[in-house]
Assembly symmetry: D2
Homo-oligomer: 361 residues x 4
């Protein structure tokens, strides 16, 4: 019933694509934590639009104004609120979608849910733009995690059928995990990245779009976080990740591929290394019984192709209740996978910290 | 921090595999609903163990005793509590796993989480046996959904590499959806089912286990349920489904396969049929922007192979902190996919009803 | 762990007295509700400071800017965010209270809680100023309640030992309930009000402050809202009302006075009037077993005297850990009871609507 | 929407007065805590009925059976479930109250809320009997608090107009706090206690009942627990305490009396004692700004006279919608204040521990 993530670290996101502003209120960040706002801004720039032809032409500075909760760069314990003004809005582009819902988009379901009162301009509250406040919250959480020796990395695992290499989820390095995310095109293997960009541009040239997957690894989490059954790491991570627009699937460790294997293939043998218990493989993705095992947490996310395409599409007129052909105007991303990479990392960081703050030991 | 599912329909599960009893407390079921307890018992029998060689030899009547909340077969509005006694427990079988954690199981992570105090007998609170109370709660929710014309079906989609047919997720019939679940081996295509059973028996003969996937479809839900961002249908369904032991992935609609497509392929054109707005295909799995579209809700779940296998496996001794070979004794399922089918349907029903009860319209 | 009120109507308050801004995010208001923003502003003006000698000299326009969730005066279903800029801040006045905590204020407990990182300027997040966003949220809820025929009234019941008349809690009129709140000094009996103002001015002249009580009645609620045990109307109303700074007590119906009576005196006989079941007296304050009875809901709130007084007070120096005398500077209210009247009504409205939205009947 | 208390320590209560059983599921108790079950039983005996003429003649052993969560006397981290069978039920006594609601009781409001489907036998889920599971949960929490040097005491503060002495809320001793609760009649001053018992017996002889107040003090809590605004100690304590049947008011520290004072009278000067910051008086009841100050937490609770009295009372017939005189049969307590004393202590302990477990410092 709310756009609120988390139990301990609560991130409440507000705003619509073309409202006066968007933002987030974050409750649960302890007092006394120094936040490097330059790093926050740099992280948020990773998802900012308007950089090249791979993304929408909309330009937004996306610089958050912190209204509360941080004083002289240090958290106060009070709720943190940051807002981002919406400036470059061209609402006229969206006038037609009130009547003819875009296939694959929330137009129709939201129309029913909100009785036609939802703000449809630019996707309203469903817009990918709402991931900017998530990145703000994630950037803060990433800094807190780093201070605990925990690093979160994400990269494009695939665009269409083009696959990137996978993260090392046994002994990842900090650079190996976080490096790809900071590239202009966030992949491990730049050759694969070049092919992906070709795919995206080809889709764009066809007035079409293309989907992909994102891999995320969280390294450095001690064993013993998370809970049984309904409050496990997978439950809570999945619940949060599906809050990112266009996500349609998630798998942990070997996931769907592992479901085709035998136990003797999929089980990860335990071993001892430097006095710590580890596993020699990581098909469990760092989570056993909902609880962290101490191995890197690994999951992959499926993102559908951007539903907003310029190709004519079959739809219906809600007012006339008759078939109608839709040609979507406006500025759209032919692929949102690369821009979603920092968002996945942000939500992963928020959720990991949220889980770690369960702990009263 | 709790084994509790849901926001409106809250299902709190308790018990360990070898404790005096297990059960569930259900809050949020409205008063005045007639519950057919025979149907509840019949549904619960679908996951009961001990039927054949495909499952553990443990025998449990699994008949719940309702302590509260239902009077003369009608809900009172007060919390419903049902308990199931644990009778056929052979705790001695598990004495060794205190020291040598089973690969792929929660033994090690739970050992750290609970400081070695968790009940390890039979998997304790992590046992698949805890899905029996989920089935009790689900059976009640299924009846309420049926009274609203909503039907939930689940079947094995694959065991190892053997695939069943898929549900019709455009115009499913009640029989088509619910029929497979009530078969002795819950598949649509019995020939595929026969091959799956061969796979399971082969794994069992090798002292091994095998994984699989389950498909679930919920038909009859009106458009407009669920919420934006963190409270969407996918968020909440995923959060609940990962509460089922051994689940490692979930995808809605075309899911991971859809992430390889273009927008023009994956978008589902709208059409009008009998005065209702529908889509001609269902790659969105009945959910757009987190909100139901009125099309059948479709998702698939990846289940890892049962981690408990009798083959010797490499592990470590927690007390000696040295390598150790583990030979798991006890009675185990070579495959839990078929037994998990009603559990997936139960959790899907609980969660769907929970979402529908958000609604204050 | 958060400054968030409510379950269905969630009001998340943020900001500090001297931060860039304060505000609230409101989730759970259904789409399609017309909001009269002039009425919102008029209601918020009731608690605005700077009107006369009875209150602080601080002047704030307190006009909220709505960033999201309302489009063309109608709710969209997306989170509503409103912010209020802090303009007339004089932070220098508060420099000393970092070291010497004010008796009766949160300075010391917050210092420990937040490790000295909390924003102490003007009371920070604990400032009475944070009740402005509550009034914004309440003003919206009051309009929704009015559209259902539900009216909320509040007035000063006492200041020091001076008592106002009590509301009619059997057959209140709309004017009787809401009239007093809109007076410059919110009492039923203006003569009593004049004496109260004398008390306040006398306390002010003595560099002191004075406490009081507020009575609130909610009329027009149908029987059958609320829940047994932990989710009753009293539980939720009390939990919210204690979120108003300086509240130290709450009683429903005959409350503490009723605890001195016998059952035959305190029980309210049932009767039938105009085909409806009512009670002839209302010692139960409209709530029986946590559930509304259909009679007006009545409660009274105890507010302590403003802890910030200009008289020298005994305190300690946190840095030197030795006794210290504190003379509080800054602009303070000699009594906050009259300004808290609309706040109590606002929180009552938020909570009543929250409770009513439980209902899935 | 549920009979569930708490956020971290979640206590979910189920059962009806005459159902097969009642009980509680407790989530959030850490693993590895030794529980003395004899002490639990002794504490629960404090509220058990049937001891003398001051209470109902109903006899219940009230011995809980622990189904899960505790193994060999030590918590496992899994949910703790305890059930109590209902044996001595005489449901026939209650047949008439289906049609004629008892004044002051939940019969009518629950009838509307649950559409007449609620279990009315013995008060159903609203029965005071449901406080037995609360005492079970409280007994566990009391033991955990004790291991941290925290003691909870409660006693009758008044019955009718007869007042007991008050706890020392500045420097209470363990014996001073906990002694009264363990007496047959829980008061500090036995002479006052004798007069109270006379009042109760007099009310009983008149086929009537009488109300009273309970004082509770929690000593030993360090400063810095609780949160600002909606999550303060007062908010959460009040929310939980109103879950006890018949509670109609709560006040912290000087409460309603303090609202008649000036700030210079009600403010508590800070001082230093043994290197710790304390206050010389305790009108704030150990809570400032919602956060503990390190001083004993003090609150008082108003309990209405038992609504079930045998005197004829004016009511209505729900079926005939006409006036009806009710003569309540069954076994009732002429006063429930003395039996509620351990319940208040139990809920205070549950809630205090719940608040302390917020803390991630």
């Amino acid at each position: 019933m709310s756009s609120e993530f988390g139990k301990n670290v609560k991130v409440s996101v507000f705003g619509q694509s073309h409202s006066a502003g968007i933002g987030a209120v974050i409750n649960g960040i302890p007092a006394g934590i120094k936040i490097d706002m330059d790093k926050v801004a740099a992280f948020m720039a990773l998802r900012a639009p308007g950089k090249n032809k791979l993304s929408t032409a909309r330009k937004e500075a996306d610089l958050p104004e912190v209204l509360s909760g941080i004083l002289d760069g240090v958290t106060t314990g009070a709720p943190i609120c940051a807002i981002i003004r919406n400036n470059d809005t061209r609402s006229k582009d969206y006038a037609n979608i009130i009547d003819i819902p875009r296939p694959g988009h929330s137009d129709f379901s939201a129309y029913v849910r909100y009785g036609g009162n939802n703000d449809v301009r630019g996707g309203g509250h469903f817009s990918g733009r709402l991931t900017a406040p998530l990145c703000f919250a994630g950037a803060i959480c990433l800094q807190i995690l780093e201070s605990k020796g925990i690093y979160v990395g994400a990269h494009i695992q695939s665009v269409g059928k083009v696959e990137d290499q996978r993260f090392d989820d046994i002994r990842p390095t900090v650079e190996g995990l976080t490096g790809p995310m900071w590239k202009a095109f966030p992949v491990i293997d730049d050759e694969a990245g070049a092919k992906m960009q070709e795919e995206i541009l080809a889709a764009s040239a066809d007035l079409d779009s293309i989907g992909g997957t994102i891999e995320c690894v969280i390294a450095g989490v001690e064993p013993g976080f998370g809970e049984h059954m309904a409050d496990g790491v997978e439950n809570r991570m999945a619940a949060a990740i599906f809050g990112i627009p266009a996500v349609k699937g998630i798998e942990f460790g070997s996931g769907f591929a592992g479901s085709r294997l035998r136990g003797s293939q999929n089980n990860d043998p335990f071993c001892i290394e430097d006095g710590k218990i580890r596993t020699t493989t990581n098909n469990h993705g760092g989570i056993l019984g909902g609880i962290t095992s101490g191995m890197p947490i690994r999951f992959a996310v499926a993102m559908k192709p951007t539903p907003s395409i310029s190709k004519p599409q079959q739809s219906v007129s809600l007012s006339k209740m008759e078939p109608a052909v839709l040609e979507v105007k406006g500025r759209h991303d032919p692929c949102i996978v690369h821009r979603a990479v920092p968002v996945v990392a942000a939500v992963a960081a928020m959720t990991m910290l949220d889980i770690m703050y369960d702990d009263v030991r």
